[in-house]
């Protein structure tokens, strides 16, 4: 992030101050004005459609309201209090946590295994596999979900025909429904991690690996002692994006089970949608949104903490 200024700053702390090193005041002012002109188009969209909705989400969470603010009445912390006494929200919370706790480690470990297997293959084979695992992402959640819905169908579905479990309702049984959803989420989540890991593994310093091999290190030792620390930033990034995506699991649920049977597949995101869209309780929906954002932030922070102690 530091600029290539004439005098490279010796310490990291000083870098920020030396940003303007060797520049006259007039030049700094001119640069600042032109920078903001370059940033302006982007900032209009960013502020208008990201920052403002974020603030609205927070403010509205303290109101009891429909879609318009004109009918709002101040509710203080009522929405938040109600949430923690709402059995559907609590059920949704635990379902969401289950999805995250199962999906995130499996996606990360599995994509790491696939990437380690393919990154040294010749480039055509490598891009073939990378493409294949990315396919469900590109195909789109809706198309992938409707075909799975057909395969899971109790009467016309492929799975019952293959397994001879005639008439079994995979998505209608509380025991299997959430696992079906996790499985589909898994297939639509590993594409990006594989692309990232293949790139990261390709950038690992080969001279270190060769030196270790000369010294007689085994493959596993090479992996844990040399490659793993070097791909740690990528792992961290993958953990964070997979966590965010899994927490927001929505389309699968809306298209496959609508939260049922008897709330067995309700997630926070689906409940937020239901609350705003069907029940028109926007204040409560926004309060749940705020809580979801906080939960995700906590999970990400924990991952950063663990990753830090792991590399030190």
């Amino acid at each position: 992030m530091a600029q290539n200024s004439a005098a490279p700053a010796p310490a990291k702390k000083k870098q920020r101050k030396s940003q303007f090193a060797g520049m006259s005041k007039a030049l700094v002012r001119r640069e600042t004005i032109s920078a903001y002109l370059f940033l302006l188009p982007s900032l209009i969209f960013f502020v208008g459609f990201v920052v403002i909705p974020m603030c609205m989400c927070l403010v509205y969470s303290f109101f009891d309201m429909g879609i318009n603010f004109s009918s709002a009445t101040f509710a203080g912390l009522d929405n938040y209090v109600e949430m923690f006494q709402d059995p559907v929200f609590i059920k949704g919370f635990w379902n969401t946590v289950l999805i995250v706790v199962v999906a995130v480690p499996t996606v990360t470990a599995f994509s790491l295994w696939v990437s380690s297997a393919i990154y040294q293959m010749n480039s055509k084979v490598r891009s073939f596999f990378r493409c294949v695992f990315y396919l469900p992402v590109v195909t789109g959640t809706v198309a992938v979900t409707v075909v799975w819905k057909w395969m899971f169908d109790p009467y016309n579905g492929l799975l019952n025909q293959l397994f001879g479990t005639k008439g079994y309702d995979w998505l209608g049984d509380a025991k299997t429904a959430i696992w079906c959803i996790i499985m589909i989420l898994f297939t639509t989540s590993i594409g990006q991690p594989i692309v990232l890991y293949v790139a990261a593994l390709g950038n690992v310093d080969t001279s270190l690996i060769e030196a270790a091999q000369v010294d007689g290190a085994t493959k596993l030792q090479v992996f844990w002692k040399i490659k793993w620390p070097q791909i740690m930033p990528t792992t961290l990034y993958i953990l964070v994006i997979t966590t965010i995506n899994s927490f927001q699991c929505f389309a699968l649920i809306q298209l496959l089970t609508r939260g049922g049977p008897s709330h067995a597949t309700d997630t926070i995101m689906y409940y937020i949608f239901d609350m705003a869209y069907r029940l028109q309780r926007f204040g409560y929906a926004n309060a749940m949104g705020v809580v979801l954002a906080i939960i995700i932030a906590i999970f990400s922070a924990i991952q950063f903490k663990i990753a830090k102690t792991d590399t030190e």
């Binding site: 370059f38 982007s42 294949v132 990315y134 396919l135």
Partner: protein
Amino acid sequence: MTSKAMRNQSLGYKIFVIVILTLLAIFFIFPLYWIITGSFKDNATIIAQTPQWFPLNPTLDNYVKLFKEPALRWLINTVGMAVGAMILTCITAALAGYALAKKRFYGKAILFTIIICAMALPKQVIVIPLLQEMSQIPWIHIDFSDFTTEMATMHDTIMAVILPTVGWPFGVFLMKQFSETIPTEILEAARVDGAGELKTFFSIVFPMLKPGVGALAIFTFVNSWNDYFLQLIMLNSRDEWTISLGIARLQGEMSSDFGLIMAGATLAAIPIVAIFIAFQKYFTQGIAMGAVKG
């Protein structure tokens, strides 16, 4: 362990890896295969008790039925939405990313921190307040059947989907990463030669950013095409739907007509898969670049 035994073991492991990867590849390709073949099956085949792995008597009935719905309109809406989001994102992000990477100005550190923080937040959470915001911004609705216009709000128009996509700061971040690679000396040389800011940007910076812009373009196109949640919340009337919404609603209305639904899914998936395969290189490069220092 003798070296021969080691070689045997690693050969065995290699075969194991290839077998597993091939099986997985089949598992990952299969849904798309089943969508496409399913769209050509007649109803009798679909409800038959034994699966037919390949449509033996292919039919176009499902497509005929699909185009009795406004499916073409949905497809046009989707393309318009994705292209609009793509062009706006590329222009605004390239300008902003360049400024963040190469300019020195007050507030830069704070601005960059805000952008990173926003990216770490769940995108879908802000969709609910966005719906509230969009239903207050006035906008012209055009009825394309007779070209009459009426004033209403931005909700239920394609703009309600495009604008939030453009606002999402990932593009700015990606363009900043790419702009860092431009040597500062070239920019200074241009300044010494008396080139203005805009001239420098369009004749020097933008050409050098082209691979990055390509990556961002394809990334935005695919993501916008597939952003089901945003489309679901923003687009209400049947004529405004995207193809994803169309299939989802069809599935809700006629849940057992799988042939029709697969025809819709094929229509939604094929263009985007074709585009992805054609521009694969840019795409993977862009994803990898976005994660550097991420």
